[in-house]
């Protein structure tokens, strides 16, 4: 090689270095990322001038139908079929409002997201050592799924959930009432120890304890579930069934069983409640949706037999659309379509398809902003409206948080002896 060529190569290399230098600088973690900025935000604000504060019902829903799942548009149009009052079945639109997570979440995202080590199988090798949002600029469905998975809902929380199982138009309903605690052992962003409990021999990801009060035959039944860090390990679940005072280990088969007459299976919690790697994920793109992100369930209006309550307040959000398929060929669903909130990575909507590829269920995940005991606010799931489109059936489950960001959750809560600390 001549000296001249050599110099040219050096020059090119230097220029390339200069070219990449700003990229390296710009690779600094950007988080939080708003759903709308600049022109996109201007367009949304312009749209909101017409719609914010407006009541949407069957008379004008076609004008906003592009922002809702078709199934829900049909529900609003056919109020009678879904047990709603003909002249008072509506939802409200509010202006988009950016959600900024707690400082702990922001700090953890900036600290840990550059450290993510994903192997060829798609598993994050240092999964248990990280916290925050692992992929603040997600480019694939899988990265979105990890972002969803890392959300710890305030690290520890305590809430009550309740709601009816609804056969539209029938006034007699069965309802549930449970009290629940969750404790995340890893991915912790707000409550010490951060980012994980060092003393965790069993390798627990999350513990959940539940005390049931309704329906009456289940009163005082208690249940806990342990999710493990190991993606190959199934959950361990134990139930103390109060009428028989017996502690039973929960079968894996129950994960895909419907719960007490509802349209929910255990895997459906949060939109998906299982190991990330049990599914494949394909990013379809972005879609503008109306989503209930700051839900106040106390203002809902509903008569018995009404599948979807009135006065849900929804705002515009630019969701990620992800196609989710379970790796088990015999899984109950052929696929799920997630509509992922770009600011919280919680789900806003889920559409579920049967094994023939027909739309089966549509779930709206109601989220709400709730103050964390650690300061700041968290957006957390505050309810589910689940619709079985094929059977014209529904269930509403509303979540009332008592505390988010709890410091003292006794790990012994997730033990068989604690199950029996009742009558």
């Amino acid at each position: 090689m001549s000296q001249k060529n050599s110099n040219r190569i050096k020059l090119l290399a230097f220029m390339a270095l200069l070219l990449f230098l700003p990229m390296h600088v710009s690779a600094e973690v950007v988080y939080p990322v708003p759903s709308y900025e600049n022109d996109a935000l201007t367009k949304v604000r312009s749209w909101e001038k017409n719609w914010a504060g407006k009541k949407v019902d069957k008379t004008n829903i076609d004008q906003v139908s592009e922002y809702l799942p078709d199934s829900f548009v049909q529900i609003y149009k056919d109020a009678e079929k879904w047990g709603a009052p003909q002249d008072n079945f509506y939802f409200m639109i509010k202006p988009y409002e950016q959600f900024v997570d707690t400082q702990g979440m922001i700090d953890a995202t900036k600290k840990y997201s550059p450290l993510v080590k994903m192997n060829a199988t798609g598993w994050i090798e240092n999964y248990a050592d990280l916290a925050g949002v692992p992929f603040p600029a997600p480019k694939t469905g899988e990265e979105l799924a990890w972002n969803f998975d890392f959300n710890t809902h305030g690290d520890a929380n305590h809430y009550r959930n309740s709601g009816p199982v609804i056969t539209p138009g029938q006034a007699v309903e069965r309802s549930t009432l449970t009290e629940r605690w969750e404790l995340y052992f890893i991915h912790r962003v707000d409550v010490q120890p951060l980012p994980k409990y060092e003393k965790n021999k069993k390798g627990i990801h999350r513990g959940m304890f539940q005390h049931m009060f309704k329906p009456p035959e289940s009163n005082n039944t208690r249940f806990f579930n342990l999710r493990y860090i190991d993606p190959e390990a199934s959950d361990d679940g134990y139930m103390y069934y109060a009428p028989f005072r017996r502690v039973r280990r929960i079968s894996v088969g129950q994960r895909t069983d419907t719960i007490d007459g509802s349209d929910f299976i255990y895997d459906d919690e949060y939109g998906w409640d299982g190991h990330v790697q049990r599914n494949t994920y394909k990013l379809i793109g972005r879609k503008e949706m109306l989503a209930s992100r700051r839900t106040d369930t106390t203002k809902f209006e509903r008569i018995p037999g009404q599948a979807v309550p009135s006065n849900i307040v929804r705002e515009r959000v630019s969701t990620y659309v992800v196609e989710v398929k379970n790796k088990d060929p015999n899984y109950i669903y052929s696929k799920r379509i997630w509509y992922v909130d770009p600011e919280t990575y919680l789900l806003n909507w889920t559409e579920i398809y049967d094994d023939l590829g027909k739309l089966w269920k549509c779930f709206e995940v109601l989220n709400t902003e709730f103050p964390s005991l650690m300061g700041g606010t968290k957006i957390v799931p505050s309810g589910y409206i689940t619709i079985d489109m094929q059977r014209s059936h529904a269930a509403n489950l509303m979540i009332n948080y008592e505390e988010i960001g709890l410091e003292k959750v006794n790990k012994r809560m997730f033990s068989i002896s604690n199950l029996q600390k009742t009558y």
């Binding site: 199982v165 069965r174 009060f213 309704k214 005082n220 009428p243 028989f244 129950q254 033990s415």
Partner: protein
């Protein structure tokens, strides 16, 4: 009046609390959540589908059982301060068996000693449980009347040995275990350690409260019939009660009751190792069933003779009215039980949940005769017995049907096999028929099953449960349940019984329609 004091206090308390309740709902929480109340009101009826000719003179109606049952339970949080929690739990129950009230023949046929006790609760039966529950960190201490569950297999007891059963109104299969268990006053402690395997220690000390198993009264739905256990008197016709009832009543009278020498104690160690939840236990107990001591053999003969002689009118008064003697005939002897339970899950196995419960009875008191029948010269013996119950359980999706008919609710299936073997068996042993041994066999084995399915969004529930003992004795119970809303539950079932074993007929010929209405709150 003294006997009414407790019910009046309880009812007054309930009325006051309900009056102050802000909202009526299935689960009732009062006093800012410090008091939780729940319970149910139940009407239950067995209507015989075919009445044998021999029972004609003890029945005017096919309704052989009609009981009103009311249970209310309350948990009062006395103190909650950091790691310390003190709760007071009380369960109050009342029932009334109404079938004798609508059937004068049946009323006449139930023996006079136990008639009132059969109809309604007596003594402290009104309190199903009453205890104080102290919880301090890993330590839990419960003091008072309690029902304890140590075993979890269906239909048959293996490791569940603490509380005696009240079999007068139903048996496992038609009734929940907790409805037929009798509470005992005890001290129960549990300690959760941080040791490997999540070791948990439990001890039970029953300082002297003794309750024998309550066997069904003669001529009631669950009980035997007079014609099945009487001698044939010279003056013709049946005596008012059979010799079996005569003996059972004497056993009731010979129960030791409260006495410090009747103490019972047990310890249980529970842990989790290699994906197996296990427990081992030891229980030093008094036999719930009566036997005859060697020292009482002559007393037993004399006691039997009183019945026979009066049935043959040896005193010439023309009235069958045998009088119970003052001396003791039956005793309830001490023995020991050791056992173990194992529970695990096999994820890729067609049946994923497995539970094994085993027991070893050390020196169980029994009786034997030289003839191998209940008639002959009795003697007291002690035998060791080994037994186990193995249960497999899972939830299944039936192609097409689960999705299209059952709203994707899977069918719950449970199948168990039970086995027991008496070591050093002798054909002279007298064994309770409920143990299911073929005459002359040292072992007994039985399978039980339960298939349950919710449908129409859990408003409807169907269950098919049953058992088959290899001597040819069987029981099946299909049940259909409807719970339209928050509180009401309606159930109909068809308990059917059969036996090809002439020596062990069980509830053969007691086929019935079961009707049950329940209001839960």
């Amino acid at each position: 009046m003294r006997g009414l004091r407790l019910p009046i206090v309880v009812v007054t308390l309930i009325v006051c609390l309900f009056a102050s309740s802000e909202k009526s709902q299935a689960y009732i929480s009062l006093l800012d959540g410090d008091l939780e109340i729940n319970g149910f009101f139940k009407e239950q009826m067995f209507i015989r589908t075919a009445m044998p000719r021999e029972e004609g003179d003890i029945h005017k109606s096919d309704i052989d059982f009609w009981r009103t049952n009311f249970i209310i339970e309350g948990l009062y949080k006395l103190k909650q301060d950091g790691d310390l929690t003190i709760n007071l739990f009380g369960g109050f129950k009342y029932y009334y068996e109404k079938s004798p009230a609508i059937d004068s023949e049946k009323k006449r046929s139930i023996n006079r000693w136990n008639y009132d006790k059969y109809l309604r609760p007596y003594d402290d039966d009104l309190l199903s449980e009453l205890y104080v529950d102290f919880q301090y960190g890993p330590l839990q201490l419960k003091v008072g009347k309690q029902i304890v569950v140590w075993g979890e297999t269906n239909l048959k007891q293996t490791a569940d040995i603490i509380n005696p059963l009240d079999l007068r109104y139903g048996s496992p299969g038609t009734e929940a275990w907790e409805d037929i268990k009798l509470g005992l006053y005890m001290i129960r402690g549990l300690y959760q350690t941080d040791l490997p395997g999540q070791l948990n220690f439990e001890f039970i000390f029953i300082p002297g409260d003794f309750e024998a198993v309550r066997l069904p009264n003669e001529n009631t739905y669950q009980g035997g019939k007079t014609y099945q256990s009487t001698v044939d008197p010279l003056n013709g016709g049946l005596p008012d009660f059979g010799i079996a009832e005569w003996a059972m009543e004497k056993a009731r009278r010979d129960e030791p009751g409260w006495n410090i020498s009747n103490w019972e104690a047990g310890i249980k160690l529970r842990g989790y190792t290699w994906n197996v939840d296990w427990s081992v236990f030891y229980f030093n107990t008094i036999n719930d069933a009566p036997t005859i001591s060697d020292s009482d053999i002559n007393a037993f003969k004399d006691f039997g003779a009183i019945y026979v002689l009066d049935a043959f009118d040896s005193d010439g008064d023309g009235v069958f009215n045998p009088q119970y003697p003052d001396y003791k005939v039956f005793s309830f002897k001490r023995y020991e039980v050791i056992g173990a339970t194992f529970q695990t899950r096999f994820e890729n196995f067609p049946v994923s949940e497995w539970r094994l419960e085993s027991f070893y009875l050390i020196g169980e008191p029994l009786n034997a005769t030289n003839s191998g029948t209940q008639f002959g010269t009795y003697k007291g013996v002690r035998k060791d017995t080994f037994g186990f119950g193995l249960e497999g359980r899972d939830y299944y999706r039936i192609p097409y049907i689960t999705h299209n008919w059952f709203d994707d609710k899977k069918m719950a299936v449970s199948v168990s096999i039970f086995y027991e073997k008496i070591l050093g068996f002798s054909r002279e042993l007298i064994l309770r028929k409920g143990r299911g041994h073929r005459t002359g066999d040292s072992h007994a084995s039985e399978i039980t099953w339960s298939f349950s399915q919710q449908f129409f969004r859990a408003k409807w529930f169907a269950m098919f449960t049953g058992s088959y003992n290899f001597i040819g004795k069987w029981f099946v119970l299909p049940v259909l349940s409807y719970a339209p809303g928050e509180h009401w539950r309606f159930e109909a079932g068809l308990p059917l019984y059969g036996s090809s074993a002439s020596s062990n007929r069980g509830l053969n010929e007691k086929d019935s329609v079961l009707l049950r209405v329940r209001y839960e709150f």
